[in-house]
Symmetry: C2
Subunit: 159 residues, 2 copies
């Protein structure tokens, strides 16, 4: 039964992904967020139509679910994705505290279709000075000031 | 001179981060996107005020810069962040094709202030079945259909 439920939402995310690219809404990816067996958000990738490189299906679904539930904590939700989340989406899943992730295709399937997911996974594993982009740290005396301010505040909303 | 320029934008991103938390706009982080020595976007973290767990300073700045420049390709830009980008933001930087990243504080400073960046970095390095969240792949016959559709389309916008 549990497996049938997972399969149902995954099939649905795949249909969403196919529809998304068929209708020129963006890349061939779909994601669904479910809470207590109710769909809260179902979104496709919209990078090219919303002109937003972060508008992957999972990120879009997280944003929509948070808007609908009026919380930035989705720890009572599950996410179903037509394809293995890229490192950006997986990290977004951690930040949103979603404890269960199911996916169908994987990063190699995505690579085969021309998407850089596995390249970014490889880049993240490298030391900063070995990466293909230039990433440099400048140590500045002022750099800890925002954290000192944050720690001293008594009325802040933590996340 | 180059170093002075980097230092200027980093100091500015740190001031932005401090202002951001001081004024209850979100966490103590700031990011600035620069093109040809002109600031295109400068944003703080707004997770708690926009109720969006993906609204980190860098992601906000990428989205704003893309809106302003009307492109999802920021390969002619640089990003300056008050703190080392978390894996979500770093991956977003890759997707936006920003080739240069400068930061001041690092993930250990963030951890010390209560932010999970280094935890997520560690999680991403683990095999899926060793992670703290449940991540499961279901192989489904339909999973390649969106990619087959994508590859067959002649009018798609690639990204």
């Amino acid at each position: 039964m549990e497996n049938n439920r997972i399969k149902y939402y995954l099939e649905r995310s795949i249909a969403l992904a196919e529809d998304n690219c068929q209708n020129h809404k963006g890349g061939p990816f779909g994601a669904i967020i479910v809470k207590n067996d109710e769909i809260i958000a179902e979104c496709g990738n919209s990078v090219t139509t919303t002109i937003d490189p972060t508008a992957h299906a999972e990120v879009n679904a997280i944003r929509e679910a948070c808007r609908k539930l009026n919380t930035f904590d989705l720890s009572d939700c599950e996410i179903y994705a037509s394809c293995q989340p890229c490192p950006m989406c997986l990290s977004a899943i951690y930040w949103a505290r979603i404890p269960k992730v199911y996916y169908a295709a994987d990063k190699n399937d995505a690579k085969d279709a021309g998407f850089d997911d596995s390249f970014i996974y490889e880049e993240l594993e490298k030391e900063e000075d070995k990466r293909s982009i230039r990433i440099e740290r400048l140590r500045l005396p002022s750099s800890s000031k925002p954290f000192i301010k944050w720690k001293s505040m008594t009325t802040k909303i933590e996340y």
